[in-house]
């Protein structure tokens, strides 16, 4: 079924270039030990080891500029009320050879260094390790328990235990009388999350800080109680080294670590991390943002759609998005019964674009959903938008009929059509988010003359439209199938 359409040399080059950047961010997204990504006044922020961090206008192009005093390592951040709480580790982690670490918190009203309100409070010491005990107070992660509003902080590295302490969400101080609890070993960069009655402890296993040879990987255990025990899918306690894989190396990026979770809306979540080495970016440590999926109650990293040619399948019925054009029959028909079974076997060529394109109208062509027959009017080539625009974790995409520049586009009356030539107009750019269940949401960057945020929907088995996204409905979901 070799149905992929040959692409031009320029497109191929573009594809090659973009293939390397689709997995990680663009700009100068170089960071180590990134905090959970924060949104503040329309921009995204993440803080890293050594002070400072990255800022992004759209979530896809990242550059330096975030400001965090205190130096140290591996911060985390959280918005509580109308303030941002930043927590980080000072010294420890083997820095200078010692494990006498300290965890500190501080507040800021804004993360925008240009804002007149930008001012960090004095750092507050909330935990420390003496350099000898089985803990190294570094690599903190925060959880504001949505069930009761209690604020928790996990911290630690390979030097002994990962520990859990409770903080006061009003002050950022350690709760009076709180005693640390050991919840894991063999981790760094832990983070706590809550979902559907489960508390999740995410940690980074493997070897850090060795470029393309770093074996860092992100694992998880879960518990019904925030204090643990955190068990993996095999029932192993993370206190005995347990952990189920969330994200490992893949493609051209190595050593993911330092998990962070961003919930955008129901069914749309992202995870942040750094890759110890992005081979397409000099092997530097680079910010990574992936869709976050939940499978059988476990978090797992999803994938941004890879550039290529696909069937776009509706989750509603399994039909495929296609042009409204005449169905062109392939040669032959049913062979008939009673024929000689020993006749020579020979392949039947697939229907190609050239076989049918002259039967298509040359202007705008409508779009419908039909049973997939591997035909040219059902094959869509998806590439990153040439203007490098994007959203959190991915670029906008250009969607065209394979082998052509006929582009999928939103109309002013909230329908979908194809236009004969891709122009780069915003209604021809598409946001594609992998959803928490592994299916995808497809949204135009804009709907002309509208400020509504609409998605591609199956309004009938065979009829697409643009309407509000509903995670609870298969009408809102699509799959990309490479045949």
């Amino acid at each position: 079924m070799k149905s992929r359409i040959k692409i031009s040399g320029i497109t191929a080059l573009l594809s090659f270039i973009l293939t390397g950047t689709v997995a990680a961010q663009i700009g100068k997204p170089f960071i180590h030990d990134p905090s959970t990504i924060m949104e503040c006044e329309g921009k995204y922020y993440t803080f890293g080891t050594g002070g400072g961090g990255l800022i992004s206008e759209d979530g896809w192009t990242w550059n330096g500029g975030a400001v965090r005093p205190g130096g140290g390592a591996a911060p985390d951040a959280m918005k509580i009320g109308d303030r941002y709480l930043v927590v980080y580790g000072a010294t420890g982690g083997g820095l200078g050879g010692g494990h006498n670490g300290r965890i500190l918190t501080m507040w800021n009203k804004t993360l925008d260094p240009q804002s007149p309100d930008f001012k960090y409070t004095e750092a507050i010491l909330v935990a420390q390790s003496d350099g000898i005990e089985d803990n190294d107070a570094i690599d903190p992660g925060l959880l504001l328990d949505p069930t009761d509003g209690r604020l928790w902080c996990c911290y630690g590295t390979y030097f002994g235990f990962i520990r859990l302490i409770e903080l006061d969400p009003k002050t950022g101080k350690r709760m009076e009388g709180n005693k640390a609890i050991d919840i894991a070993i063999d981790c760094e960069a832990t983070d706590l999350e809550y979902r559907d009655g489960w508390y999740y402890l995410l940690g980074t296993h493997g070897t850090c800080c060795d470029g393309a040879n770093s074996t860092y990987n992100i694992v998880v255990g879960r518990s019904r109680n925030v204090t643990g025990p955190y068990l993996d899918n095999m029932g192993r306690d993370m206190l005995t080294g347990g952990g189920k894989m969330v994200l490992a190396a893949g493609g051209r990026v190595m050593g993911p670590g330092h998990f962070g979770r961003v919930i955008l809306e129901d069914g749309v979540e992202k995870m942040s991390c750094h890759f110890e080495a992005d081979l397409d970016q000099s092997g530097r440590s680079t910010l990574g943002i992936r869709p976050l999926l939940w499978k059988n109650g476990w978090p797992v990293a999803g994938e941004n759609i890879k550039e290529g040619t696909y069937e776009i399948e509706s989750e509603r019925r399994g039909y495929a998005l296609e042009l409204v054009v005449d169905f062109v029959r392939m040669a032959g028909g049913m062979r008939g019964f009673g024929r000689n079974a020993n006749e020579p076997i020979k392949p039947v060529p697939s229907q190609e674009l050239a076989d049918v394109i002259d039967t298509w109208p040359t202007g705008n062509i409508g779009v419908r959903i039909g049973d997939y027959m591997t035909r040219p009017h059902q094959k869509w080539t998806i590439t990153a938008a040439p203007d490098s625009s994007g959203y959190l974790g991915a670029p906008y995409y250009k969607i065209v009929i394979a082998g052509t520049e006929r582009a999928l586009a939103a109309t002013a009356d909230a329908e979908v059509i194809t236009v004969p030539e891709f122009t780069g107009a915003p209604e021809q750019l598409w946001r594609i988010d992998q959803l928490t269940d592994g299916t995808y949401r497809i949204m135009p960057k804009v709907v002309p003359n509208s400020d509504k945020k609409l998605a591609l929907i199956s309004i009938g088995d065979s009829t697409p439209t643009l309407a509000e996204f509903d995670m609870s409905s298969d009408n809102s979901k699509w799959n990309f199938r490479a045949h």
Binding site: N100, Y158, D186, C208, C209, D210, T240
Partner: protein, 244 residues
């Protein structure tokens, strides 16, 4: 937090950190000038071990073997664990460091000479499911990084048990033998994870079976855990452990 070593109050030296992520095991072991462990003088293994006795000792509730003869660490400098390839550790673990290394059943207090080092065997029982070699070395005022440990124990089986497997986790690389035969090898820069590597099917003889293991580490926090699994993957607990 349950196993804090009581230490002297320490003068904490603030270290301004400007590099990136130097908090993993790849940190060179040589940078210990700020290590407060260099300055404390009250050291003990008591928080992690008790002396082995002759009383009947079975594995713990999860089948982990806690009674071991441990040799003080052999000096084996490695600034990074990235060197622990299969071929490296196989050579490191088959090198003869002391006489009868692969055959002797040492006694508590027995000494061996390894190069310029005179090292002592200690018959101990771990208070935890894992044997924290780092704390063993630290508590005895021995070097904790760039080390190679040897461990020996005796498993007494009430009957012959076929198709059992030895399940090991270690920090970092290690190699294990049952009755003189190689059972399982753990290469690479590893953290100790229970059941990380599991041997092929083995037979525990009726009576005594000798387990011998070697663990190597550069800058990591050395430890290991060992248990036997039956054909269903369940821990074997109807055995006893001795050092004789």
């Amino acid at each position: 937090m349950n196993n804090k070593l009581k230490t002297l109050s320490l003068a904490v030296v603030a270290v301004i950190f400007t590099g990136l992520g130097l908090h993993a095991q790849t940190v060179p072991s040589g940078r210990q000038m700020d290590d407060p462990t260099k300055r404390d003088t009250v050291r003990s293994i008591a928080a992690y071990f008790i002396p082995a006795t002759k009383s009947k000792k079975t594995p713990d509730s999860q089948g982990f073997i806690q009674r071991w003869l441990l040799l003080e660490p052999i000096d084996k400098p490695n600034r990074s664990n990235t060197v622990f390839t299969d071929s490296y550790i196989r050579e490191a673990f088959t090198t003869v460091y002391f006489p009868n290394q692969f055959t002797a059943l040492p006694k508590d207090g027995e000494k061996v000479k390894v190069g310029e080092q005179e090292l002592t065997w200690h018959a101990l029982e771990s208070k935890k499911f894992n044997v924290k070699l780092f704390r063993f070395a630290y508590g005895l005022n021995k070097q904790v990084y760039g080390v190679l440990f040897w461990a020996v124990t005796v498993v007494n089986s009430p009957q012959e048990m076929k198709n059992v497997r030895m399940a090991v986790g270690s920090n970092s690389a290690s190699m294990w033998w049952l009755n003189g035969e190689e059972a399982v090898i753990l290469s690479g820069d590893r953290r100790m994870v229970m059941d990380d590597c599991v041997s092929p099917r083995l037979t525990l003889n009726k009576g005594k079976n000798i387990i011998r293991g070697a663990v190597i580490n550069g800058p990591g926090m050395s430890d290991f855990c060992v248990r036997f699994l039956d054909e269903k993957g369940e821990p074997i607990k109807d055995i006893t452990i001795s050092c004789e």
